[in-house]
Symmetry: C2
DNA sequence: TATAATTATCTCGAATTCGAGATAAAAAGG
DNA sequence: CCTTTTTATCTCGAATTCGAGATAATTATA
């Protein structure tokens, strides 16, 4: 327990535990989503447009952390599934917006509340206070890793 | 700050922060590794064999959390790079072990200490006490998500 | 023992992601 | 106004991962 070599490997161990915990969590989140014929990236894109309204494709990519070539692919898929539509921007012809179709809006109105419930179930291993603490600590970790 | 709607979305927020923090961290870890011509999965496989000695391919897959078809692919790559070698198991002819080559052992002897240093730098946003707390909380989260 | 179930690995095709580079439009600098 | 730089999106090919199913060996069961 208080083995002196322990502190050497705390970072390694934290990395492993972090990776595994998020893998377990993702598995559950994915289960919640894939029965709708969506993968996590597609859901994240819909979620972003749902909360912020129509968005330039490039902004979406930044938000869901994927490369520009990948966001093109995801938007293609969502357009095929009729959940979003591309809409050229009148004031800047480089920009294409993605906007929810009626279909997409109806879908999100229906599934988003359920999704939040599912998330609360998945994260029920911690109480609210613990979640708040972990959010702060993760931000610290993330900021630090970002600016190294 | 103490907005009453806050607690509703704590799980959602924790998921986002968790995802982003790990993404930032992974970017750094990947930088540390890719200059060796390895990707994170390949490194994890080498790390596992390095610490545990030669292992059945299937055990490696379990440890690094990838599907059986993927571990075949990764072991192929590492064999091409001459860092590991396949070795049939004499007592069970279904099993193939993967073992480090001299090359692979030399590589790991050289890079593993450096890797640990890099990890300590990456995780330097938290002190040891905070890391220990986070490890425990993440385990709770992971166990819970696992057994839902 | 013969049959069924399980286990370990592999093959194959599909899905998702990336990076490099193309194209086109807008902005900045002279 | 012309050139250069930046920005937004897309195309293409490669890398990585997965799931379904094949094969072969081992173990369990009738």
């Amino acid at each position: 327990m208080n083995n002196p070599t322990n502190s050497d490997d705390l970072s390694l161990k934290l990395f492993v535990v972090l990776t595994r915990a998020l893998a377990s969590i993702r598995k559950r989140v994915e289960e919640d989503i894939k029965c709708l014929g969506l993968n996590p990236t597609e859901f994240a894109v819909l979620e972003f447009i749902y909360s912020k309204g129509e968005q330039p494709i490039q902004k979406i990519g930044q938000k869901v952390l994927i490369a520009s070539s990948s966001i093109t692919y995801v938007v293609d898929k969502l357009e095929q599934k009729q959940f979003i539509r591309r809409k050229p921007c009148p004031s800047d012809r480089r920009i294409t917006h993605a906007t929810l179709t009626d279909n997409g809006l109806k879908l999100m109105d229906e599934i988003f509340p359920k999704h939040k419930d599912a998330m609360n179930t998945i994260f029920d291993g911690l109480d609210n206070k613990e979640k708040e603490v972990m959010i702060e600590q993760l931000k610290k970790l993330g900021y630090h890793a970002e600016k190294i």
